[in-house]
């Protein structure tokens, strides 16, 4: 066992334990840690925003490289700050409209391409041409799964008769899929905990 001599590691360890104290209940130690975290991370982000967006992405091209096209976004960017003044806050609608609509604009064709058309295309396969019987059956189940899940989320007809049967298969597929999500989520959460114990036992207490 080699206790860490670093004050930073000790601070981190104390904060980790303060975080764990939430398991007992929401207590002042946890609240102090939480608010310190809120402040430090907001401060960290603020500096990064200013450095990357204002200095690197605006000041460098506009002033250092003399690219005057960037004057336009300087104005729009400034208007965003009107949000802080209730009487003038409507001014901030211009930058917001600009970035929301630009994002919406490029996402429309790309989303249709990547999430709809591409996914349709890979579903249209010849299940009799998969090499082995097992692979063929699995591919067929994949095909049926996609179709029935889509049918389950079809709201313009009652789920009766054949549609009802299909949507039952859909819900079974969905549940097996959510089971996979469930297992993977558990896996994720446990890993994060392992990470903290590795820190406490290794970096701080020096057992590992």
């Amino acid at each position: 066992m080699h206790l860490s001599p670093e004050p930073g590691v000790w601070l981190a360890a104390i904060l980790t334990l303060a975080g764990f104290s939430f398991l007992w209940k929401d207590n002042p130690m946890f609240k102090v840690m939480e608010h310190m975290l809120v402040g430090v991370s907001a401060g960290y982000y603020l500096v990064q925003y200013a450095y990357s967006a204002i200095f690197k992405k605006l000041y460098v091209p506009l002033v250092k490289q003399g690219n005057l096209l960037f004057a336009g976004c300087a104005v729009l960017g400034l208007m965003a700050f009107a949000r802080l003044f209730p009487k003038r806050s409507w001014l901030s609608r211009y930058p917001v409209a600009f970035y929301v609509a630009a994002g919406a604009g490029y996402s429309v064709p790309s989303t249709i391409q990547a999430r709809v058309i591409k996914q349709m295309q890979v579903t249209m396969i010849n299940v009799f041409d998969q090499g082995s019987l097992g692979a063929g059956v699995s591919s067929f189940l994949l095909f049926v799964g996609v179709i029935t899940v889509l049918l389950y989320f079809f709201f313009s007809a009652e789920h009766r008769g054949p549609l009802g049967a299909a949507s039952k298969i859909g819900i079974v597929t969905l549940m097996i899929g959510f089971g996979a999500s469930f297992g993977y989520t558990v896996m994720s959460r446990i890993t994060l905990l392992i990470g903290r114990f590795q820190f406490l036992l290794g970096d701080w207490l020096g057992f590992l």
């Binding site: 398991l23 209940k25 991370s41 960290y44 982000y45 990064q48 925003y49 450095y51 990357s52 967006a53 690197k56 992405k57 460098v60 091209p61 250092k64 490289q65 970035y99 630009a102 994002g103 490029y106 996402s107 790309s110 989303t111 391409q113 990547a114 999430r115 591409k118 996914q119 295309q121 890979v122 996979a180 999500s181 993977y184 989520t185 558990v186 896996m187 994720s188 446990i190 890993t191 994060l192 905990l193 392992i194 990470g195 903290r196 114990f197 590795q198 036992l201 057992f207 590992l208």
Partner: protein
Amino acid sequence: MAGMKGLDRTIIYWGVAFSIVIPLLWPIGFSTEVTSQVRDIHRFIEQMPESSAVLMSFDYEPATIAELDPMAAAFLKHLFQRRARVMGMTLLPGGVGLAENLLRQEAAIAGMEYGRNWLFLGYIPDGTAAMLRMGEDVAMVFPTDQYGTALDSFPMMRGVKSYRNMGLVICLSSTAMPQLWAQYAHDRYGAAVAVGATAVEAVRLYPYHDSGQLVGFLGGLKGAAEYETLIQTPGDGIRGMDAQTISHLFIVMMVVLGNIGYAATKWRGRAGASTGRNHAPVA
């Protein structure tokens, strides 16, 4: 948070803690099987021409370092070994410090030189716009590196303008970022995209790998362990697998125990005409 029936919650908390701490202190040494999603990335990097340019986006924050740091380290080891030119960047402000530390650490181990073998471009707001803009001109997204030097003054950036000149784009993420990289960098600009994702996110990436929109992906700590197995360099991924295994067994045991109790109350309840749901108030 609640009074308990059966096991007290503190007992369960201690159970989880022990199922992690004991295997960490006394490792068992389980070995790991490799899945196709991971093997595909490894093969891709192996077949990339030497000294290819690779963009590596550290799109995660400190919350998920336990899952993503081991993956990033494994990727960097492999890339440096293949003499790739690595451009590090992040689309989340909290990723700056993490990316910087990992890049420095792995570059030092591999003896790589800043500006010649690797670069850190820093953070840029608005992920999707950045992904698209880099399909046109990387130097417009990052006019300078993180430390204020113009990009074209680095020897390794010669001939690297957009995704066209890159062998691979790697995204490490705990959010929906990989799907966006696939959608914008791959589908719109034809970049090859490989992903390291937290397990929560990885489970959503199967259709993207199946469709070829992603080269492959590592899912969670298990994915990191698989990659470490492939490059034959054990790291935090493999080291964490024992604890992961034992704690999964513990959680499964909890589910089973809980459901046995539930089935028993339900069975008893049925004798006394109940709605069949778990409505019995808790003492």
